[in-house]
Amino acid sequence: MPPIDIAARVIANARLSSDYSVLSLAAPDVGARTLPGQFVMVKPEGVTDPLLRRPFSVFEVLRDPQGVIIGISILNKKAGRSTRRLYDLEVGDVVSCLGPLGQPFKTVASPTRAWMVAGGVGLAPFATLAESLAASKTETTLFYGARTGEELFYLDFFERLGVTLVLTTENGARGTKGRVTLPLEAELKALAAGDRAMVYACGPEPMLEAVAKLAAHYHQPSQVSVERVMGCGLGGCYSCVVPVKHGGENANLVRSCISGPVFDGAELVWE
């Protein structure tokens, strides 16, 4: 489906913490086209600061009580000027929303298990993926790491879908203390011969690298969603390139907006 651009009204901007918010946008046509793992390019409507849009994974496809799609949400974490502006938006403000864009996750089905590994704001693409996996009754686990217990969001959402939660925090306040890759490796190690798990990952680049390498080490496939500074989202500017292997050792820079943001973890070259 080709992307569309919508001047989307802010339906809600739920502040989950002093850094995180879930920004809900009235963009039903974008929601109806979105596949898990795809993204939108957004910015407040009609301003030159920020000038460029910013890429966000579609977090939720929003539905009314009758199940009719009314829009999408994005999981926003304050990191710079643009994300601060988005955090401060109020109901009724208007956001330019272009999408859906990019390559979605490839879903799996039983007996292959789905293991989603999220670091911080990297939770974003997994709500829609979990819904899709739940619909196909795929056994799904979310390995979810955050700095603190207060930054583990939407746990009830995933529990309602029947997703098994494995939580870690840096301070140990909730779940296991330490990195999310620790319990992931334990589970990978515990897989019986012949068992298969698709490992999905989104989060900080060192986490993505660690997850992709762990999956490869234990002979399991992985799909990682990368984030790069992006200018256009459509392949026009060549700013969001990532190095990938194409059979040989020579890295080849491809645009993560159109060839990604989801890549086969074994295809990426880690710098």
Binding site: P2, P3, D49, L52, G231, C232, C237, S239
Partner: protein
Amino acid sequence: MTPDLSVSIGSLKLPNPLIAASGCFGYGLEYEHVVDLSLLGGIVSKGLFMKERQGHPPPRIVETPAGMINAIGLQGIGVHRFVKEKLPLLRERGARTFVNVCGTTLDEYVEVCKVLSDAEGVAAIELNISCPNIKEGGIQFGCSLHGTFDVVSAVRKATSLPVIPKLTPNVTDVASFAKAAEDAGADAVSLVNTFLAMAIDVETRRPKISNVLGGLSGPAIRPIAVRMVWECYQLVKIPVIGMGGITDARDVLEFMLAGSTAVQIGTQNFVDPFVWTKVLDSLKDYMTRHNVARLSDLIGAFDPTPPKATHP
């Protein structure tokens, strides 16, 4: 009466003056699912050398006030792959394709142009002598009057396609470069390429893009670009293709009044890939409101009478 938006660049007739700027529109095909490529006056390909190029490591862009700095480093597929893989499809889509030609040497410019001359479906050659982001070639021609004259002359002899050098604003007097290009046989000039710029992360004290230096584009540069177009328009007889921070129809009109025959839109296409039809509709509205039958009548129609000091 249907408003006539067509413009002519030498023998090349375009249905309207809107051209997608090089480096801002991929090879055109990336955008075919959001805009009918035949609706644009033309598109300019990414810069092409003889061979493929990887470009600079990321980060390659950073946003700045009302603009952005880029140092992509001319990542590209090379002219042969372009002719084989992209050009036939662009022809099928009805795109008027300008090819942005790069070179590390004068000979390479000539060779790339020869390849394009033998291909079917190239509307014109835009000679990239102004990319600020790579050390070898390009800018060394664009920052010297002799270099500009020499490379345009050499290419002029090698092809019968319209030759349009793209000028850098990073010189003291851009109009003299337009004149050198005209004297060497250029069919038109396009300007401006980006302004050499840099941005520093004060937290880390490091550059915000990997190449340290890059080119500034976007609305921030528009008034300077308009001034430069006006200077060139007054000095040369060949058409001027203006660009620099155009976001809407009013900006297009400003460039045309300053002397642009056609305009290019770059950074705004990143912000809004649907900009093209919006601008075309607004141009038609303007023509109706101002009773302008032919848009080309506005080229250079700027009235330098000082404005009144009082608010209207």
